[in-house]
């Protein structure tokens, strides 16, 4: 059975990432399919977060950190671009919800514009806020108090606010680093449902430790081990018939 060739949005070529002298990613070749959800899995410390942070050039923000190799986003090598331009196309949702504490819900959603000095007309701004919050399935819960601080929301709501904030600037790619690890099961469900709905509009790469979460949301899964890409393929195939013994061991809970 042969897969129809997938259109890819992001592609890495022999990507290596370092902290000082320490090589964390040891030459990753990976293609992320467009408008699909790709999960990155692997035992703790294998470099999942590092890989994700290479995709929006956040890795280099850590003092002493650098990268080698190439990352193509729609054919353009982002490692030779201005990181600011890369980040405008690649949004990120962090492990811990991080709404800006001095800003209201409304201002948080618009932060990608306001903090970049982009002035919006009022109707335009309101449109973006409503649309983004609806995409993040938060609108109904917060529409009556948009001008209250974002930090008053529950953890799950805060995480959806952060998703709305990332979506408001229309990224091509959305990176999520264990976005549900700080949330309770119900809030986790909401975010998972949201991820599956969003892939119509945006490509998502999600780091997760949770095999069943990957099974629920991801079309494709990449398995990372000690800084190397061991296996990549459609989630179902990878889960039911892993080619590499290490993938199987991980999936059956032998380590990680």
């Amino acid at each position: 059975m042969k897969e129809a060739p997938m259109e890819e949005i992001l592609k890495t070529q022999d990507l290596k990432a370092y902290f000082e002298e320490l090589e964390i990613l040891k030459g990753i070749n990976l293609s992320i399919p467009k408008n699909r959800v790709t999960a990155i899995m692997g035992p703790s410390g294998c470099g999942k977060t590092t890989l994700l942070r290479c995709f929006n050039r956040m890795h280099e923000e850590t003092p002493g950190a650098h990268t080698k190799g190439k990352i193509f986003l729609e054919g353009k090598d982002i490692l030779s671009m201005n990181p600011i331009l890369v980040r405008k196309m690649v949004g990120m949702v962090f492990q811990k919800p991080n709404p800006f504490p001095t800003m209201s819900i409304y201002e948080n959603v618009l932060a990608g514009y306001r903090l970049n000095g982009i002035k919006l007309r009022k109707e335009e701004a309101q449109g973006i806020v409503e649309e983004s919050l609806k995409k993040a399935v938060l609108w109904d819960e917060v529409k009556d108090f948009l001008h209250r601080r974002g930090t008053f929301l529950s953890g799950g709501q805060q995480q959806r606010l952060c998703i709305a904030r990332a979506l408001a600037v229309n990224p091509k790619l959305l990176l999520m680093d264990e976005p549900t690890s700080a949330l309770d099961p119900k809030a986790t469900r909401r975010v998972e449902e949201l991820v599956t709905e969003l892939k119509e509009a945006v490509t998502i790469v999600i780091v997760t430790h949770n095999t069943s979460q990957a099974g629920r949301v991801a079309d494709y899964t990449a398995f990372l081990y000690l800084g190397e890409l061991i296996e990549f393929g459609p989630t179902e195939e990878l889960f039911t018939a892993p080619k590499d013994p290490r993938t199987e061991e991980y999936l059956t809970g032998k380590f990680g």
Binding site: M58, I84, R87, F94, P99, F100, T102
Partner: protein, 281 residues
């Protein structure tokens, strides 16, 4: 047997709590003695007249310290104009680039400056500002006060901004926000109340400084708004009056002390209320 043991432990706990409570009260004693003394000696001379009139020559009854009150306010305001922007910017710099050589040198310099006796700073301001201008001036006084304020503001700004979580900074950077906008529009507002607290505390600190004003601002029995002229200040009035031979001036020195301590207490309380507001967020 066992119950007795518990009763004994509870009893010991109660005694220990009492002792700690009593010890905690000790620092309050000097403060209350000072306030009591100031009120009993100064309150009777404190009047609207005292607060709104100029000093009169010795021997003439009445007179007040309006020149010194306004002078103190002007000196602290001018010192703040000099020290706040510089100090906050340096604090931001230290908090953003904490582990490099230059920031470490700046930090050490700030700490040494903080430990420098204020009279030495006064001498420096005298040499740097009074000498070139050939006379005492408000500017020289506020320059001395600004140098005292500077390290306090630098270090509190740094300490407050370092506490702003990494997640908040990265959240802004990940939106494609340039670093300087991230600092000014996200990090600084997040720590703003703390920074303001540090500024107010440093103002309270220099409002009572006397030594560096003796040979810079010098004192002036008339109202003055000019930065280039000598100016009076509450600590200077207290010093001059208390060392004078006139009983009426001693009385006024007490009243001026009371005004000064109320001013400092006001600044301190405002700072602490601001800090509490931040803690509650």
């Amino acid at each position: 047997m066992k119950e007795q043991g518990i009763a004994l432990r509870l009893w010991k706990d109660r005694v220990a709590s009492l002792v700690i409570f009593a010890l905690a009260l000790i620092p309050l004693i000097p403060l209350f003695l000072i306030l009591f003394q100031l009120f009993s000696k100064g309150a009777s001379s404190l009047s609207l007249h005292f607060l709104t009139s100029l000093p009169r020559p010795p021997g003439e009854a009445g007179g007040g310290v309006v020149n010194a009150i306004l002078g103190s306010i002007l000196l602290v305001a001018m010192a703040s104009i000099l020290a706040v922007p510089t100090g906050v910017l340096a604090g931001i710099y230290l908090s953003e680039f904490y582990d490099r050589l230059l920031p470490n040198m700046v930090r050490t310099a700030a700490d040494l400056l903080q430990g420098t006796p204020s009279i030495v700073i006064g001498i420096m301001a005298c040499a740097w500002v009074v000498r070139p201008l050939h006379h005492f001036s408000a500017l020289a006084g506020s320059a001395a006060l600004a140098i005292i304020m500077l390290p306090v503001i630098v270090r509190t700004t740094e300490e407050v901004l370092v506490l702003v979580p990494k997640e908040i900074r990265e959240g802004a950077l990940a939106l494609g926000v340039p670093r300087w906008r991230m600092i000014l529009q996200v990090v600084l507002p997040t720590g703003l109340v703390g920074v303001a607290t540090g500024i107010l505390l440093s103002m309270a600190r220099v409002a009572g400084e006397t030594a560096p004003l003796l040979f810079t601002a010098f004192g002036n029995p008339f109202l003055s708004w000019k930065p280039t002229e000598p100016i009076d200040a509450l600590p200077l009035v207290i010093f001059n009056y208390a060392t004078s031979p006139y009983a009426d001036w001693w009385r006024q020195a007490w009243a001026a002390s009371l005004v000064l301590i109320l001013l400092v207490l006001f600044l301190n309380t405002t700072a602490r209320l601001a800090a509490r507001k931040m803690g509650g967020r």
